[in-house]
Amino acid sequence: MAFVSTIVVLGAVLLVVLNSEAWPAVQRQFFNGFHFRQSFPLVLRGFWQDIWMFLVAEVAILILALVVAVIRALRGPAFFPLRLMAVTFIDIIRGIPMILLILLMGFGIPALQLQGVTSSGLFWGLTAIVLGYSAYTAEVYRAGIDSVPESQRMSARSLGLSQMQTLRFVIVPQAVRNVIPALLNGFVSLQKDVALVFVLGVREGVREAQIYIGSTFNYTPYLAATALFLLVSIPLARYADWYTERDRRRKQAMST
């Protein structure tokens, strides 16, 4: 029944769109077979750059965010300066629009022409994304750390484990498990946001499409890029949902 109704509804929508007066113009601008074939290899090559940036950034984010979250979770007056630094980092970075952070670091730092510091837009753009996402992801980890019962910390400390050992062997493993669904959602949005470094001129998928469009004034390459991003982000989103659902069921089964 769900299948039949889906077919009927989609068919009706398609019929209306294809019969509308504007459709021939839309088709020429966005669904042009010739321009698609011409631009696709270029966009695809750029898209590999997006995938590569996504993977590198994700690894860096997961590590940096965990370090920030653990510093924030340290207790005792001796760690106050460290905690203050972590909180300041999170507050400032989260308050800056991602695109501004990318422009600021991607153009700003190379402009300083510092000795021994790379002027690569790709490097600084990606660094900006890593910093921006780490601030958010650190808060995700923190929620996970807070969700581990206080009694776990107490029982680890009572066995003589130090504060760091307690975090490392008892708290963080449980915390990470609790926030995997939220981390997966972060993956989905990062996979798209890496494309923002195009503003620095990095030759990734969106930038390649833009270059092609600049000489042809046909917007089909944008749709080619769209299709490529969806090809990755939809399965990733489905997987995140599937994992979250499985996790929820497992927790229900455990509490009975």
Binding site: S151, Q152, M154, S155, A156, R157, S158, L159, G160, L161, S162, Q165, F169, V170, P173, Q174, R177, M254
Partner: protein, 246 residues
């Protein structure tokens, strides 16, 4: 190892829980702390284990004042062990890993030796077949016995037990109490906060009755249960008897 508690006071916010506790624990002695809920039994154990900072008083382990700020709390905690009412096993670790974690990380015991010791303890208390299970798959009684073994694996000089049977089904209480009797037979020094009066009467060398944040009365179980001198103790025991718990 001799444990001395002198004038310990502790308040949480404006609620005064301990109002000057004095208690001595001799080597190989088993002391049961009895008293109504809220009389300070759990708080006292946590103060002894340095999990809670005290407001006044001293706790001595032999010649060392462990409540001194100059003492390394982690190293003191590794000489004592505390077991909680709610087991608090680490849910992401197997039974074996729960037991071997602290000996390896705190005492630097090699893994093979830690595993051998854990297996020996599991065998002695009839839990060998649970070695690779995760806590969620164990009964409450099994979880609590694993928690006690986890504490024993640190080879503590004194074992603190905080109402370790209170969260258990009545049918599972027996297996945990019998483990404690075995430990007493082996000469383990224990401080046991408990509501199991029958167990306290038969197993303890000394019973301390806590009332309103002080040790109101203490002595051999026969004396405390048979011939209590303080009105608070008499009142408490009468209510316990009326409830059919003694």
């Amino acid at each position: 190892m001799k444990l001395r508690v002198r004038g310990v006071e502790k308040a949480f916010d404006d609620k005064q829980v301990l109002r000057g506790i004095d208690l001595d624990v001799e080597p190989h002695e088993v002391i049961c702390l009895i008293g109504a809920s809220g009389s300070g039994k759990s708080t006292l154990l946590k103060c002894i284990n340095l999990l809670v900072d005290i407001d006044a008083g001293e706790v001595w382990l032999d010649d060392l004042m462990i409540t001194s700020p100059r003492v390394d709390a982690d190293s003191i905690r590794s000489r004592m062990a505390i077991v909680f009412q709610a087991f608090n096993l680490f849910p992401h670790l197997s039974v074996l890993e729960n037991i071997t974690l602290a000996p390896q990380k705190v005492l630097d015991v090699p893994r093979s030796e830690a595993v051998a010791r854990a297996e020996d303890l599991l065998g002695r208390f009839g839990l060998s077949d649970k070695r690779d299970e995760y806590p969620e798959r164990l009964s409450g009684g099994e979880q609590q016995r694993v928690a006690i073994i986890r504490a024993l694996a640190m080879q503590p000089e004194v074992l603190l037990l905080d109402e370790v049977t209170s969260a258990l089904d009545p049918v599972l209480v027996g297996e945990v109490l019998s483990l404690l009797r075995d430990l007493k037979a082996q000469g383990m020094t224990m401080v046991i906060a408990t509501h199991e009066m029958g167990f306290a009467r038969e197993t303890a060398d000394r019973v301390a009755f806590l009332h309103d944040g002080t040790v109101a009365e203490q002595g051999p179980p026969a004396e405390i249960f048979g011939n209590p001198t303080r009105p608070e103790t008499q009142d408490f025991l009468r209510r316990i008897t009326d409830a059919g718990r003694l």
